[in-house]
C-alpha cells in the first residue's frame, strides 16, 4: 500500500516540480517578446502562442500537484474545528462524490473533441501560430487524469491510515 501511495504522490510531485519551471520559462519568453517587439519592432505569433501554451500547461498539469500540496483553497471555517476523523470523513466524501465524478465527466465529455483533434492533428489557433492545438486540447484529459490519480492517493491514504490507527 505504501508503495502505491508513493508512486501516486510521486507522479504528482514530479509533474509539479517540472511544470513549475514553466512559470519562469513563460516569464522569460514573454520578456523576450517584449524586447523584440518594442526595441526591434519584431513580433511573431508563434512566439506569443508559445507563452499561451506554457501558461495552459502550467495550470492544467499543476492541478494534481496542487491537490497533493493541499493548495486548492478550502473554506475551512468549520473544517478547521473538526477532529482528524471528521476531516477525513469530509475529504473522503468530497473525493468520492464530488471530485471523482466531476473529473470522470470531464474526461467523458471532452473525449470526442480531443480524439477528433488528434485525428486531424488540428493546426494552429490563428494563422502563423503553433500547429499543435491537438496537444493543447490533450491538456484537458491530462488534467482530469492527474487530479484523479492524486485524488485516489488521498482516498487510499485516508482509508489506509484509519485502518492502521484502528488496528
Amino acid at each position: 500500500m505504501q508503495r502505491i501511495l508513493s508512486v501516486l504522490d510521486g507522479i504528482s510531485r514530479t509533474t509539479g516540480t517540472l511544470v513549475r519551471w514553466l512559470a519562469l520559462a513563460m516569464l522569460l519568453a514573454q520578456f523576450g517578446i517584449v524586447i523584440a517587439r518594442y526595441v526591434f519592432g519584431y513580433s511573431s505569433i508563434a512566439a506569443q502562442e508559445s507563452v499561451l501554451y506554457m501558461h495552459a500547461t502550467l495550470f492544467m498539469l499543476g492541478a494534481g500537484y496542487t491537490l497533493l500540496m493541499d493548495g486548492h483553497v478550502r473554506v475551512d471555517i468549520f473544517y478547521d474545528k473538526l477532529s482528524v476523523i471528521g476531516k477525513n470523513r469530509i475529504d473522503l466524501a468530497g473525493h468520492l462524490f464530488l471530485l471523482m465524478p466531476a473529473m470522470i465527466m470531464v474526461l467523458y465529455w471532452s473525449w470526442p473533441a480531443v480524439s477528433n483533434s488528434w485525428k486531424i492533428l488540428e493546426g494552429p489557433i490563428s494563422v502563423g501560430g503553433i500547429k499543435a492545438v491537438f496537444l493543447l486540447k490533450t491538456l484537458i484529459p491530462a488534467f482530469a487524469c492527474l487530479v484523479l490519480l492524486q485524488s485516489l492517493s488521498c482516498v487510499l491514504r485516508i482509508l489506509f491510515q484509519s485502518e492502521t490507527r484502528d488496528g
Partner: protein
C-alpha cells in the same frame, strides 16, 4: 422539486464549499451531481455538458488571463526575497515619531502587494505574518493592529494590478458584450483590463486615503493605542530608504503606467514586472551586484531608447544609422540578458526562486481550477433554467434598475461570506451583470462597486474571509472579539467609500473616460 433544482443547486454549492472540501472541486462536483439529477428528472438535456470541452478550451486560450501567473510570480518573488518585509520595516522607521507611522506603512505595503493578490486569504496571512508581530512589538493596541492587517490585506484586491481585477475585467467584458447582443447592437464595444485598472485606481486610492486619515485621527484621539517609535531608534538614512522602498515602487509604477497608458498589454507589463522583481531580489541578495546593476541600467536605457528612437527591423528602408543604433541595442540587450541569467543563477543557488515558483504554480493552478469548475457549474445552472430565473427576479425587483442593483449588491455581499472573489466573479457576476447593464448601469462603474462591496463583505464578522484567515495567522493572545472590534471602523470606511462611489460615479468613470 424538479423546477427548483437550480435554487437547490446553489444551496448545495454553499453547503459543499462550507464543508471545507477544496472549493474548485466542490463547485465542479455539485455541478455534476445536479446535472445527473436534472437529467434523471427529465428537466435537463445532458448533452449540454458536451459544451464543456469548448468552455475549457476557451479558458486555455484566454489571452487576458495569461497575465495572472506572471503577476503572481512577481508578487511571490517580492515576498520570498523579503523585499516586502524590508519595505514595511524601513517605511515604518522612516515615519519616526509620527503617531500611527507604522500603521500607515502597513496600509501602503498592503496596497503595493496588490500584484500578488490571488485570493483574499494569501495576502491577509502574509500581512499577518509580517506586519502583526511588528506592530504588537511596537506596542500597538491588538484591536488596532488586527483591524489594520485585515483591511490592508484586502486592500490589494481593488488596487491595480491586482489579479482579481484581471479576472473581473474578463467577466465584465463578456457580460457587456452579451448585454449588447441582447439589445440587438451590431457594433460591439469591449472592456479592456486597462479600463478596469484605470477605473479602480481612484476609488482604491480614495480608500487608502480614508484608511490613513483614520489611523492619524485615532492616533490623535487615543495616543495610547499606537505609540510612536521609541526616540532612540533613529530614522533610517535616506540611502537606506531609497534602497528598500524606491525600486519596488518604481517597478510597480512602471508596470501600471505601461498598462494604463495603453503602451503595453497587461501580460507584457507583467513580464517586465517579473523580470524587475528577479533583478531586485538578486541585487538585494548581493551576488554579482555590480554586474547586475549594469545590466539593469542597460535595460532601462533600452526601454527609454526604444520609446524615443525605435528600430524597426522588419522595414526595408533601414539606413546606416538605424543599423548602428540596432547594434547598440543588441549589445545592451545581451548585457541585460546576461544580468538576468546571473540573477536567476544566484536565486536558484540560494533557493529563493524554487519556493516562489512553487507558490506561483499552486496559486495559478488553484485559481484556474476554480474558473474551470465555475464554467462547468454555470453550464449546468443555465441548463436547469437558473439564468432565466435570475433575470426574471432582477426585472421583477421593485424600484426598477436601482432596486435590481441594490438587490444584487446585497446578494453579492452575503455570498461574500461563503465564496471568494474568484468564485463570485466567475459564477455570480455572469448571471446578474448582463441584466444590470441592459437596465442602464455603466459596466465599468458596476465592476468597481462590486469589487469594493466584496472587499467589505470579506471584512464583515462573523464570516468575513479576511478575519477568518487572520485568526489562523494571529497569535493566540489576540481574541476573536478584538479582531472584530478592530475591523469595525474599517467596515464603516468601506461603507462610506461605497456610498461615495454610488453617488459620485465619476470617481470610477473619470479616469477611463479620459484615458481610453
Amino acid at each position: 422539486m424538479a423546477e427548483y433544482l437550480d435554487i437547490l443547486m446553489f444551496a448545495a454549492l454553499v453547503l459543499a464549499i462550507l464543508s471545507g472540501f477544496p472549493v474548485a472541486f466542490s463547485i465542479a462536483g455539485t455541478a455534476i451531481v445536479f446535472a445527473v439529477l436534472g437529467w434523471s428528472l427529465g428537466v435537463m438535456n445532458i448533452n449540454l455538458l458536451g459544451a464543456m470541452s469548448q468552455r475549457i478550451f476557451g479558458l486555455l486560450t484566454n489571452n487576458v488571463l495569461i497575465a495572472i501567473p506572471l503577476f503572481v510570480l512577481m508578487g511571490a518573488i517580492l515576498e520570498k526575497s523579503r523585499i516586502a518585509e524590508d519595505m514595511l520595516d524601513t517605511m515604518g522607521r522612516s515615519f519616526g515619531q509620527l503617531r500611527g507611522g507604522l500603521g500607515i506603512s502597513v496600509i501602503l505595503v498592503g496596497m503595493l502587494l496588490a500584484a500578488s493578490t490571488g485570493i483574499v486569504g494569501a495576502t491577509v496571512v502574509a500581512m499577518g505574518m509580517i506586519a502583526l508581530p511588528t506592530m504588537l512589538r511596537a506596542g500597538y493596541d491588538p484591536r488596532v493592529a488586527s483591524g489594520l492587517v485585515c483591511s490592508a490585506g484586502t486592500l490589494g484586491q481593488i488596487i491595480p494590478p491586482s489579479t482579481l481585477l484581471i479576472i473581473l475585467s474578463d467577466v465584465v467584458s463578456n457580460a457587456y458584450q452579451q448585454a449588447q447582443y441582447e439589445q440587438g447592437k451590431f457594433t460591439i464595444d469591449t472592456i479592456s483590463v486597462g479600463q478596469i485598472f484605470a477605473s479602480a485606481l481612484l476609488p482604491g486610492l480614495t480608500l487608502v486615503g480614508l484608511y490613513i486619515l483614520y489611523v492619524l485621527m485615532r492616533g490623535w484621539i487615543r495616543p495610547e493605542d499606537m505609540p510612536p517609535a521609541p526616540a532612540d531608534v533613529p530614522r533610517p538614512p535616506l540611502a537606506e530608504v531609497a534602497q528598500a522602498i524606491l525600486p519596488a515602487i518604481l517597478l510597480i509604477l512602471a508596470v501600471l503606467g505601461a498598462i494604463l497608458s495603453g503602451i503595453a498589454s497587461p501580460t507584457e507589463a507583467a513580464s517586465v514586472g517579473g523580470i524587475g522583481a528577479i533583478l531586485m531580489a538578486a541585487v538585494k541578495a548581493g551576488a554579482n551586484r555590480r554586474f547586475i546593476l549594469i545590466g539593469v541600467t542597460c535595460l532601462i536605457v533600452l526601454a527609454i531608447g526604444a520609446g524615443v528612437f525605435p528600430v524597426r527591423l522588419q522595414r526595408s528602408d533601414l539606413g546606416l544609422g538605424s543599423y548602428m543604433l540596432g547594434a547598440g541595442y543588441v549589445v545592451m540587450t545581451l548585457i541585460g540578458l546576461a544580468a538576468i541569467v546571473l540573477a536567476l543563477r544566484s536565486m536558484i543557488a540560494q533557493k529563493v526562486l524554487q519556493p516562489a515558483l512553487n507558490s506561483t504554480l499552486t496559486m495559478t493552478a488553484m485559481i484556474f481550477a476554480t474558473i474551470l469548475a465555475a464554467g462547468i457549474f454555470s453550464l449546468v445552472f443555465i441548463g436547469l433554467g437558473g439564468e432565466e430565473r435570475v433575470q426574471d427576479l432582477l426585472s421583477a425587483m421593485p424600484g426598477g434598475a436601482t432596486g435590481a442593483l441594490i438587490f444584487s449588491m446585497l446578494f453579492i455581499f452575503v455570498l461574500g461570506f461563503f465564496l471568494d472573489f474568484v468564485e463570485i466573479s466567475v459564477i455570480v457576476l455572469p448571471l446578474v451583470m448582463p441584466t444590470l447593464i441592459i437596465m442602464g448601469h455603466d459596466p465599468v462603474w458596476l465592476s468597481v462597486l462590486i469589487a469594493i462591496n466584496l472587499q467589505t463583505s470579506f471584512l464583515t464578522p462573523p464570516f468575513g474571509f479576511s478575519l477568518f484567515y487572520l485568526r489562523g495567522a494571529a497569535p493566540k493572545e489576540i481574541s476573536t472579539g478584538q479582531i472584530y472590534a478592530g475591523v469595525t471602523p474599517f467596515i464603516l470606511i468601506q461603507i462610506i467609500a461605497v456610498t461615495l462611489i454610488w453617488f459620485l460615479p465619476e470617481i470610477a468613470t473619470y479616469l477611463p473616460s479620459v484615458m481610453f
